[in-house]
């Protein structure tokens, strides 16, 4: 008879004889990141409280916060980011919905195109919009050609609206990608059942599809919010004199004015804003990604 009695109490096995613990292997890349990224960021924070005159304090903050240019930039940044996010969410949801659920000729090619679009530089969009809506460009050209007027009516590119339009165009694919992934996991039987119960398309979208993909929508939306807060190329390329965002202000102060301390103050504000939103984004995506992340080896 094999013993099924509890074994006599035994010491836990002695530690494995290993030269180096496994976790030390993670140190080189983390150190590298720390040296070239975290340490410089810390210096930015330090510089922002170390005015050129010497000593330490928040004098630079008071000075920067007092400037109308900074307050305008903050307002512009927030307004443009909010507008771009709202636009990208609406457009991205509508387009993704059609790609996922209405058979289209070349639907797959469109999906691939969206992927490629993500890796293009953002300023390309602004450049294109200059040719479409610029002073000499497609839209105004059509207008003057048709009406014979000397100039066309489209002159919004150098305003906030121009920046918002460019950002909506550029960021919409960032909303579409997680949405398309979420749509592909949606059980189409649910839609068929809803349709067989007499629900029409708008109702199905509102009551079946939307609740299912809300996490993906939220995740995509907050990603776009962060990215539009940090966007630089689009604003720079519109050459809009009246529109300044925080990143543009950082660039202006550091490179054009040579005021590093002021630039660091604006940078700290920008980082704080972005990190807060990014934390939100990570929380939202962590919730949607949980089931896959929890995969474990079979015991």
């Amino acid at each position: 008879m094999v013993s099924v009695l509890p074994a006599p109490a035994r010491m836990a096995a002695p530690a494995r004889t290993r030269r180096i613990p496994a976790w030390t292997l993670v140190l080189p890349p983390v150190t590298a990141l720390g040296l070239v990224f975290l340490y410089p960021l810390a210096l930015v924070l330090w510089q922002s409280v170390s005015p050129d005159g010497g000593g330490h304090g928040f004098a630079a903050y008071a000075e920067v916060f007092g400037q109308a240019a900074f307050r305008n930039a903050l307002l512009d940044t927030v307004l443009i980011a909010a507008g771009a996010t709202a636009g990208a969410l609406l457009l991205g949801f509508a387009l993704a919905l059609v790609i996922a659920f209405v058979p289209l000729p070349g639907g797959r090619a469109i999906g691939r195109f969206v992927d490629v679009f993500l890796s293009f530089p953002s300023f390309l969009i602004t450049l294109a919009l200059l040719f479409v809506y610029g002073n000499a460009g497609l839209a105004n050209g059509v207008w003057t050609g048709m009406t014979g007027a000397a100039t066309g009516p489209f002159d919004f590119l150098h305003t906030r609206w121009g920046v918002v339009l460019a950002e909506v165009t550029y960021f919409t694919p960032f909303v579409m990608r997680p949405l398309l992934a979420a749509f592909s996991q949606l059980d189409t039987a649910q839609l068929d059942v809803a349709a067989s119960l007499g629900a029409r398309a708008p109702r199905i979208v509102r009551q079946v599809v939307l609740p299912e993909v809300l996490p993906a929508l939220a995740a995509g939306g907050s990603l776009v919010l962060v990215m539009s807060l940090n966007e630089f190329g689009i604003v720079l390329f519109t050459g809009a004199k009246g529109v300044t965002t925080l990143p543009v202000l950082v660039y202006g102060k550091a490179i054009l004015e040579g005021d590093w301390t002021g630039a660091c103050v604006v940078a700290v504000v920008n980082i704080a804003l972005s990190l807060a939103l990014y934390g939100l984004y990570r929380t939202l995506t962590a919730r949607t990604a949980r089931p896959e992340g929890e995969r474990r080896a079979r015991a």
């Binding site: 976790w23 993670v26 080189p28 890349p29 983390v30 590298a32 990141l33 070239v36 990224f37 410089p40 210096l43 930015v44 457009l91 059609v98 790609i99 659920f101 209405v102 058979p103 195109f113 490629v116 890796s119 293009f120 530089p121 953002s122 300023f123 390309l124 969009i125 294109a128 919009l129 040719f131 479409v132 000499a136 460009g137 003057t144 165009t169 919409t172 398309a201 962060v226 807060l229 940090n230 190329g233 720079l236 390329f237 050459g239 925080l246 990143p247 950082v250 660039y251 490179i255 590093w260 660091c264 940078a267 920008n270 980082i271 990190l275 990014y278 990570r282 896959e292 992340g293 995969r295």
Partner: protein
Amino acid sequence: MLVHSRRARWAVQGVFLALFLPVFALPFLVVVAASLATQWSGALPSGATLDHYRTAVRGEALDALTTSVLTALAASALALATGTWAALAARGPRARRVVGALFVLPVAVPSVVVGLALLVAFSEPPFLLNGTPTIVVLAHAILVTAFAHQSVAAALDRLDPAYEQAAASLGASPLRVLLRVRLPLLLPSLSAAAGLCFALSMGELSATMMLYPPDWLPLPVKVFAATDRGALFPGAALAVVLVTTTLLVLLAVSRVRTRASYR
């Protein structure tokens, strides 16, 4: 399928194309058209020419393209090595979470601020990098590391632990398991990550504007310089060259990937 009647489907498709084409396809067509023209005062550009391209592939413009490609190659290699190493070394759920959070931080911080931070940190000895190509490469590497790390980490999550366990049971040391089993199985994801890193670095403008030295001028800066002084049409040609180069590299990388995943 959401829309069942044929007419409704046509209507939806029509609206879709009316939104999708102008918003996404038009920009590229317009830039390409402009790059072949000398002026645009009517509905269509006029004065067809290839001059912009002739200038765009020689002299300074060619140098800028070479600079961009070299920067992107170096930055992608650095980012891929660091990101992959970090993803592979972080074993166990807690380590994965901490390292993951650390390596996505560069995405959350504005690129301009990354540039500023490097300026502040590396403008005086002992780390005097300001004014060297190294600082540009470094900035690009930092900015794309997050993407490299994320795609490798996601692929590792999907990798069945049975493979490395089978290899270990056959007597393969951890290093051998890494080189002969885990990395080959990750090859498709690694090449995808490499392509993404390369493309992002090729188009990077924000941090580059803060950092580039006069003798290391990447193509996006050149595009900006051209449009800023009003030379929109040559600028468009430069942009087309930039995008085409990027697409060619992406295509080559995706061919590697297909080969790797078909084995």
